[in-house]
């Protein structure tokens, strides 16, 4: 077979990476290229440099080093028994591509993962080599995210963390049974063991920096993971519960959800359906409720139906509010921060503004409207100096009242 050129490899190895949901380039330490020999900066907030028609942002050059794999996980397009075209980048090619794209301001950095070739350690060494070369040979100060290989030598994982801003390992599936069925060669203890190891290394790194300023900054953007949604029997309640234990046990920065999508040449095990995008969206919303709104995972789960599924037609906060109506209405002029955060339609920023402005005025509905996106959805749940909705929260058909209009999925909108 003729040698593939870089562009052909890129087509194959970016295509193979498109099922991974994580893309963020935020939350790392601030640095820039001033006074250095290379390029690159991070300013805390990540930047999305483009958006694809699937609505997802392109922030990093997200590719696989190779899509060959010795494993045969059913959900994965790169599995051994798949018929896809294979390609493999050299470390040098990845370095060159990253720098060339970065210089033109197309990307914030690199997100590199890989199929497993030869052995876990060999593969991990290659990933680390890319990051090393970027940092040491080219003094690259942009963002690097490395996906580590489950059972690679901890020393290699440590090296990865020294060069990368973020490291991650995918839990893949929310239930052990699902993992057993769809990824027979991976196991929950193995994956979680690796996460635990990374958590330890991140904490050690942070301690060391407290003592010595010069200590290397180990994975300053922490670790993250991804779960595939809709490929096993896990309910939303299972998923939310799993995510919350992952956050607690491994101090994860983020749990990403990736709706399972039909893949070419899929294993017979997988459903050939469109990914449940709305479900994925609702799970992200519930993730926000836990991370920024003070909801406990049990509370989110209590908004799910008897089958453990969150409603698809309304967001989980509204679903929770409809279930716990006794909690409402909340008085915008008196309620605590915690109470205000429970009001459907009231975001963290708006709550902050209300609390600040409250010292100066008695809030009317108009005042609230000025600080929020949509007052209509909120009205049944709040009291202001000129508004008291006592009857509304008792309405049996409240849900129909405030539910957003059903519109066609935007599949073919131009």
């Amino acid at each position: 077979m003729a040698q593939l050129d870089t562009r052909e490899k890129l087509a194959i190895l970016a295509d193979a990476a498109k099922y991974d949901a994580s893309c963020a380039s935020s939350g790392t330490s601030k640095r820039n290229s001033v006074g250095g020999k290379g390029i690159g900066s991070t300013e805390g907030m990540g930047i999305c440099h483009a958006y694809a028609p699937d609505g997802r942002c392109i922030s990093l050059l997200k590719i696989l080093l190779t899509n060959s794999c010795i494993f045969d996980c059913h959900y994965c397009i790169n599995r051994k028994s798949s018929n896809v075209r294979r390609a493999r980048f050299t470390a040098q090619e990845v370095v060159n591509l990253t720098l060339a794209f970065y210089k033109r301001n197309y990307i914030e950095g690199l997100f590199l993962s890989s199929g497993i070739i030869a052995s876990s350690n060999y593969t991990m060494e290659q990933l680390v080599e890319v990051a090393r070369s970027l940092r040491e040979d080219h003094d690259f100060r942009g963002y690097i995210h490395l996906k580590t290989i489950p059972d690679a030598d901890p020393e290699l994982v440590r090296l990865a963390g020294l060069y990368a801003d973020r490291i991650s390992i995918n839990v893949e599936l929310p239930t052990a049974k699902g993992l057993q069925r769809l990824a027979p060669e991976k196991s929950e203890p193995q994956i979680e063991g690796a996460m635990l190891g990374m958590k330890g290394a991140i904490e050690d790194g942070r301690d060391a920096r407290k003592k010595y300023k010069s200590a290397p900054n180990f994975a300053p953007a922490g670790q993250s993971t991804q779960m595939i949604i809709g490929a096993d029997a896990a309910t939303d309640a299972d998923i939310v519960g799993k995510a919350s234990t992952l956050y607690d046990r491994f101090s994860l920065r983020r749990v990403y959800y990736s709706a399972f999508s039909p893949i070419p040449d899929a294993s017979a095990v997988l459903p050939l359906q469109r990914p449940p995008l709305m479900r994925e969206h609702r799970l992200y919303q519930s993730d926000w409720l836990m991370r920024f709104y003070g909801f406990k995972s049990e509370e989110v789960v209590s908004a799910a139906d008897d089958g453990g599924m969150l409603p698809l037609d309304i967001d989980p906060k509204l679903a929770w509010a409809l279930k716990y109506r006794e909690y409402f209405p909340v008085d915008v002029n008196k309620a605590s921060r915690e109470q205000l955060l429970r009001v459907p339609g009231l975001g963290t920023k708006a709550v902050q503004r209300i609390l600040r402005s409250r010292r100066f005025r008695n809030f009317t509905l108009d005042d609230v409207a000025r600080l929020t996106v949509s007052i209509a959805k909120m009205r049944p749940f709040i009291i202001t100096s000129d508004w008291r909705p006592t009857l509304l929260t008792d309405k049996a058909d409240l849900k129909r009242w405030i539910k957003p209009e059903k519109h066609q999925l935007e599949l073919f909108a131009a």
């Binding site: 562009r7 890129l10 087509a11 194959i12 970016a14 295509d15 498109k18 820039n32 290229s33 001033v34 290379g38 390029i39 930047i47 440099h49 483009a50 958006y51 694809a52 028609p53 699937d54 609505g55 997802r56 997200k62 059913h74 018929n83 591509l97 210089k103 033109r104 301001n105 197309y106 049974k177 057993q180 069925r181 029997a233 709706a259 999508s261 039909p262 893949i263 070419p264 040449d265 899929a266 294993s267 017979a268 997988l270 459903p271 050939l272 359906q273 469109r274 139906d305 008897d306 089958g307 209300i354 600040r356 402005s357 100066f360 005025r361 000025r370 600080l371 599949l411 073919f412 909108a413």
Partner: protein
């Protein structure tokens, strides 16, 4: 860039009157009835320092907002107002402004709204009266200025994201040149971002208002006149590679065009090499998705033909294991066990019944009770060997009401059917039967997601989502429950006729 963190970065001394009035000469504002407002001309549309100096003098002189007209040199200004000097400080006590005001003002000044200077000056007066006026976010003036500042920050963010450099050779060196057209006057303000990021590159950002150039050899940032798109280089060979990346990372199964447009409005597109691909990618998405599915369907039967112990058997066994612990609906609570489907994994026909009954619940196997016996008899009559078929139920747990000691079967509701549907779909996805038979309305709902009337769909096949054929007939237990002998016989005959037709179709499809 004078004092990002200097004199005015801190709040207290912003309006320190020691700085005194600037070099403006002469005319005092007349007392009494206002004749002509005072016209203040700023050097540039984003001249924060100029505004701050003037505002300081004005406020210390007690000049009220309505008596000032602000304009930018070279822009068509107001017709009214006269150039004049600010009166000397009126002896009012000096005051300081909070740091957030400076941050907001520095951003809002860059907005294209011509009223920005005046609005800021009004707010300054408010702050003089009440140092915490800025905290009242619901005040319409504060709200408006915050919005201006926010729009500027958003524009800046878009500039960080959507500037696209092109590499050009320059005697022995290279320069990276971009053209960008911001909505507001932010090009100078954002130069620092690009300096920090690309400090070792020689680059230029051209915009209609001003061009910014960075020279790494001397560490200097310089300004030039505004430019137009045609002043920027045409292309860069790397753009084709970038487009390859853009189209490969896009997943056609998840088209979400609105979300994309919200974040990447069309007005930015002409600077970005990748956006020429958007329309063809969208247009081709459905076709690509279908192709993915088709290839999956075409490839697999050969690639993973049912071989004992192969992938399919392993997957099916694991699925059955997984189903044992299902809690997707409440039915698992009272039933004895999950009754999973059974049969060969390369069946001629895939039967879907309704739900296990009392005997199935105890035995853990489908179709072993009275309805199962009737079913077996009918199959035998038409010459279908049950051991060549796969038999499963739409709902996998027994649902009943207790009457005395008897467990009386009760029909699953749609929520239960829809919850359990997942299993049936997984079974079919593994087995991929060419012919599926829905026995009764529950099974039809499970297979199609719709509530169908059996009599209406009984005589012709339906096409399922995966493209395979599905026939609908009655459930055998329906035949058991017909009280009148004559009708019962008639319905059984019809059921047998249906099975004959199904048998022939299965043979034709094999």
């Amino acid at each position: 860039m004078s004092d990002a963190n200097g004199r005015f970065g801190n709040s207290a001394d912003l309006f320190d009157s020691r700085l005194g009035p600037g070099g403006r000469a002469g005319v005092l504002l007349p007392d009494g009835p206002q004749i002509d407002p005072l016209k203040i001309t700023l050097d540039q549309p984003d001249d924060f320092d100029g505004w701050r100096d003037a505002a300081r003098e004005l406020v210390m002189a007690g000049v009220p907002p309505m008596s000032v007209v602000w304009q930018v040199r070279g822009e068509d200004g107001e017709l009214f107002g006269s150039e004049g000097a600010v009166p000397p400080p009126s002896g009012e006590p000096m005051f300081s402004v909070p740091k957030p005001f400076i941050d907001m003002a520095k951003a809002a000044i860059c907005h294209s709204d011509p009223q920005r200077f005046a609005l800021l000056y009004v707010l300054l007066w408010k702050l003089k009266a009440n140092r915490r006026a800025l905290d009242d976010r619901a005040d319409p003036l504060v709200d408006r200025l915050e919005k201006l500042a926010k729009e500027v920050r958003r524009d800046a963010h878009k500039m960080h994201a959507f500037v696209r450099f092109r590499e050009v050779a320059e005697e022995g060196d290279t320069r990276f040149v971009a053209f960008f057209e911001p909505d507001h006057h932010i090009a100078r303000r954002e130069a620092g971002f690009f300096v920090r990021r690309f400090s070792t590159m020689r680059w230029s950002i051209l915009s209609p208002e001003v061009s910014i150039h960075w020279d790494p050899a001397t560490d200097t940032l310089s300004e030039g006149p505004g430019a137009s798109r045609s002043d920027a280089p045409d292309g860069d060979p790397l753009e084709e590679t970038w487009r390859t990346y853009y189209s490969s990372i896009f997943n056609p199964a998840r088209l979400k065009v609105k979300a994309m447009l919200k974040e990447m409005p069309k007005k930015y597109w002409h600077n970005m090499p990748e956006t020429s691909l958007v329309a063809p990618l969208i247009a081709g998405a459905r076709a690509r998705e279908l192709e993915m599915i088709e290839r999956a369907q075409a490839n697999l039967p050969q690639a993973e033909a049912p071989r004992p112990g192969g992938n399919i058997e392993g997957a099916w066994a694991a699925l059955r294991e997984e189903a044992k612990g299902c809690t997707r609906c409440d039915l698992h609570r009272c039933a004895t066990q999950t009754v999973f489907g059974e049969g060969p994994l390369n069946p001629r026909i895939f039967f879907v019944g309704e739900q296990p009954g009392d005997q199935e619940d105890l035995a853990g196997r489908p179709f072993v009770g009275p309805a199962g016996q009737l079913f077996d008899a009918a199959l035998e009559k038409v010459g279908i060997d049950r051991s060549t078929t796969y038999v499963t139920n739409a709902v996998k747990h027994f649902k009943f009401v207790l009457r005395g000691k008897q467990r009386i079967h009760s029909r699953p509701d749609t929520a239960e059917i829809d919850a359990c549907r997942w299993w049936q779909e997984q079974e079919r996805a593994i087995i991929r039967p060419p012919l599926t038979v829905a026995l009764g309305a529950t099974a039809a709902r499970s297979l199609t997601g719709k509530t169908l009337t059996i009599s209406k769909v009984r005589d012709a096949p339906l096409t399922l989502a995966d493209g395979s054929e599905c026939w609908v007939t009655v459930h055998p237990s329906f035949l058991l429950r017909i009280p009148e002998e004559a009708r019962r016989r008639e319905e059984r005959a019809r059921f047998v006729e249906d099975l004959e037709r199904i048998r022939d179709r299965a043979a034709a499809l094999a």
